[in-house]
C-alpha cells in the first residue's frame, strides 16, 4: 500500500507521541509508526513513579504517563501504525516499512525521528571471563519482571549506577531477589540523587563507588563476579578485590542514541539538531533520546512536541530558518544540546558538566547569560532557557562551566 502524509513520526514512545500530537495540532496530516504492538516504548515497563512532574504537573508512573498521552493522541486525527518496522528512509522523502500485511511506502513532506536509545551491552565493557547465562541489561530484567511475570535471578549484582540500575536494584530487592550491591566505576553515582536515596539507602543496598567488575565466572550460569577498586585514573588498585557469589549481573552502563535507519544526517552519536529540532537534512527533525540521552521523559516529550510543531510548519511551508548560530562546547561541558540555534526562536539548552562542582557557574557567551548551579554533577542535566536573540553578525556562541567554590 502507498501512504501520504505531511509529517511522519518514527517511534511511538514519550517523544514520538508528543510529536505526533503537536504536529496534528499545527495542522499537519500525521502518521505515527511504532514497531511494537502498543505505543509507549520503555514507559510501559517503567512502572515506578516520578514521571510527568514537569509535563503534566503530576507525579505519574510510566504506564500512567503513557496512557494519558495515548488518550490525548486518540483525540487527534493522527494515523497510528503499530507493529510496523521502518526498513528505509531515502532522500526523496520516502519511507519503506514492513508489517504483517507486507511492505508499504509512505511519501512525506517532513519526518520526525523519535527512535529513542538502546542500552549499552555488557559485551562492550570487554570484561574477561566466562560467557554465561545470567547477565542482563537492566531494561531486559525490567521487562521480564514487570511485564512477563518472570523471575530472572536469585541473587544479583548491579553494574552501573544510572537511574535504571538504581531502580532495578530496588525492584529486584522488593521481588525477593538478593541484591548484593551496585558497582560504579566513577567516584559519584550516575543516577539522580533521589534514586540513590529511595532505591538504595531505603533498603540498605551498598553502593560501591570507584569500583569495577574485573572478571565473571560460572559454568553455564553465572556464579561469581570479581570486583576491584579503581584509582582516579580508573586503574585497578591491587589487593582490593571482592568476590560476589551471585547468579546474575544486571548492567546499567549507558544508553546509545538510535539513529537507524538514517545514514545521511549529521550525528554525534545521536542526531545533531537545532533548537527547533531540525537536523542537517532540513525536512528531518529529531527529538528525545535519539539526539542526546535525557534525564526525564518530561524533557523528551517537551522536545517531541517542539519537533512536531516545527515539522508541521515546515511541511506547510511556514518554517524556514534564515540563520543558524553554532553552539560550541566550551570548558567543562560534556554533553550539549542543541548544537545549532535559530535565533528567531526560543531555546531550551540542555547540558551536562564534565566533572563534579561544588558551585558551578555556567555561562553562554557572548550573550552574557550566567547561571549558578549548586553541586553540579555530570549525571544531572542542567537546563537553560534562552529568549530569541537577533544579532545578524553572530556566528557562534560558547557554553562553559567553572568552579565558583
Amino acid at each position: 500500500m502507498k501512504y501520504e502524509a505531511d509529517v511522519v513520526v518514527l517511534g511511538g514512545g514519550g517523544g514520538g507521541m508528543a510529536a505526533a500530537k503537536a504536529a496534528d495540532k499545527n495542522g499537519a496530516n500525521v502518521i505515527l509508526i511504532e514497531r511494537e504492538e502498543e505505543n509507549g516504548g520503555v514507559l510501559n515497563q517503567c512502572i515506578h513513579n516520578g514521571f510527568g512532574i514537569h509535563y503534566y504537573r503530576k507525579d505519574l508512573t510510566g504506564p500512567e504517563f503513557k496512557e494519558t498521552l495515548q488518550e490525548e493522541l486518540e483525540n487527534t486525527n493522527v494515523k497510528i501504525l503499530n507493529s510496523a518496522f521502518v526498513l528505509d528512509v531515502n532522500k526523496d522523502k520516502q519511507l519503506t516499512f514492513v508489517n504483517h500485511k507486507g511492505i508499504h511506502e509512505i511519501k512525506t513532506k517532513a519526518l520526525v525521528m523519535t527512535t529513542g536509545a538502546r542500552e549499552r551491552h555488557f559485551n562492550s565493557l570487554a570484561v574477561p571471563g566466562d560467557r554465561v547465562a545470567g547477565i542482563f541489561t537492566a531494561g531486559v530484567a525490567q521487562k521480564y519482571i514487570n511485564l512477563q511475570n518472570l523471575k530472572p535471578a536469585n541473587s544479583a549484582l548491579i553494574v552501573g549506577s544510572g537511574d535504571i540500575g538504581l531502580i532495578m536494584a530496588r525492584r529486584l530487592h522488593l521481588e525477593g531477589i538478593e541484591v548484593k550491591g551496585v558497582v560504579e566505576i566513577l567516584p559519584y553515582p550516575g543516577g539522580l540523587e533521589r534514586n540513590v536515596q529511595q532505591c538504595l539507602r531505603d533498603y540498605n543496598i551498598p553502593l560501591y563507588l570507584s569500583h569495577t567488575v574485573t572478571r565473571v565466572e560460572g559454568n553455564k550460569r553465572l556464579g561469581k563476579v570479581y570486583v576491584s577498586q579503581v584509582d582516579e585514573n580508573r586503574q585497578i588498585i591491587p589487593n582490593t578485590e571482592k568476590i560476589f557469589n551471585v547468579d546474575s549481573l544486571v548492567t546499567s552502563v549507558g544508553l546509545i542514541p538510535l539513529t537507524d535507519p538514517i545514514k545521511f544526517v549529521e550525528t554525534g552519536p545521536g542526531f545533531i539538531t537545532s533548537n527547533t529540532n531540525q537536523t542537517s537534512e532540513d525536512w528531518i527533525f529529531a527529538a528525545g533520546n535519539c539526539t542526546v540521552v535525557f534525564d526525564l521523559v518530561d524533557y523528551v516529550s517537551r522536545e517531541g512536541e517542539k519537533a512536531g510543531k516545527y515539522a508541521a510548519l515546515y511541511a506547510q511551508n511556514q518554517y524556514f530558518p534564515e540563520q543558524k548560530v553554532k553552539v560550541i562546547k566550551g570548558k567543562n561541558i560534556n554533553v550539549l544540546h542543541p548544537l545549532y540555534i535559530d535565533p528567531n526562536e526560543r531555546t531550551k539548552l540542555y547540558l551536562r558538566v564534565s566533572k563534579t562542582f561544588k558551585r558551578a557557574e555556567v555561562t553562554v557567551e557572548p550573550l552574557g547569560i550566567k547561571m549558578v548551579e549548586e553541586e553540579a554533577r555530570p549525571s544531572e542535566m542542567i537546563e537553560i532557557s534562552m529568549k530569541p536573540f537577533k544579532d545578524k553578525n553572530l556566528k557562534e556562541i560558547e557554553v562553559s562551566a567553572r568552579e565558583l567554590g
Binding site: 508512573t61 496512557e67 511475570n149 536515596q197
Partner: protein
C-alpha cells in the same frame, strides 16, 4: 525536664526528580521541632523533611497478576505515599493479589491497604484476552 538534643541530618527530597539536598537541624525531643532547613527549592521540601525525620513515606509501585488478561501483569501503585516501614508487608500482600481482566487505569485493587489510608490502584489498563 529532659535535655533537648539537636541533630543534624542531610535529607534528599524524593518528591520530584530534582532531588534537593536539604540540610536540617532539629530538636529530637518528645515532639520533633525543626530549627533550621536549608537547600530546598520549594515548600514541598519543607513538608518532606518534617515527614522524613518522623516517619518516612514512599509510594509503593509493583505489578499484580491478571487473570484472563491480554498480558499477564498489571502495574499498580499506592495512590498516596505509605510508611516506608510497611513496604515489605505491602509487597507480601500484593505478591498474592490477583485481579480479573478487564482492568482500567485507576481501578482500586485493594482499599485502604494495612489501614494506611492509601488505596492500591492500577496504573495501566489491561483488556480481556480475545
Amino acid at each position: 525536664m529532659n535535655s533537648v538534643e539537636y541533630k543534624k541530618k542531610k535529607v534528599v527530597c524524593t518528591t520530584c526528580p530534582l532531588g534537593c539536598k536539604i540540610n536540617v537541624i532539629y530538636a529530637d525531643a518528645d515532639e520533633i521541632e525543626i530549627v533550621e532547613v536549608k537547600g530546598n527549592r520549594c515548600k514541598r521540601g519543607l513538608e518532606f523533611v518534617k515527614q522524613e525525620i518522623t516517619d518516612p513515606l514512599r509510594v509503593v509501585v509493583t505489578s499484580v497478576k491478571v487473570e484472563d488478561g491480554e498480558i499477564p501483569m498489571a502495574s499498580v501503585r499506592s495512590d498516596k505515599p505509605v510508611p516506608l516501614r510497611l513496604i515489605n508487608d505491602i509487597m507480601k500482600i500484593l505478591k498474592e493479589t490477583k485481579v480479573k481482566a478487564p482492568i482500567k487505569r485507576g481501578n482500586v485493587v485493594i482499599q485502604n491497604i494495612l489501614d494506611t489510608g492509601s488505596d492500591i490502584i492500577a496504573t495501566r489498563s489491561v483488556n480481556k484476552k480475545k
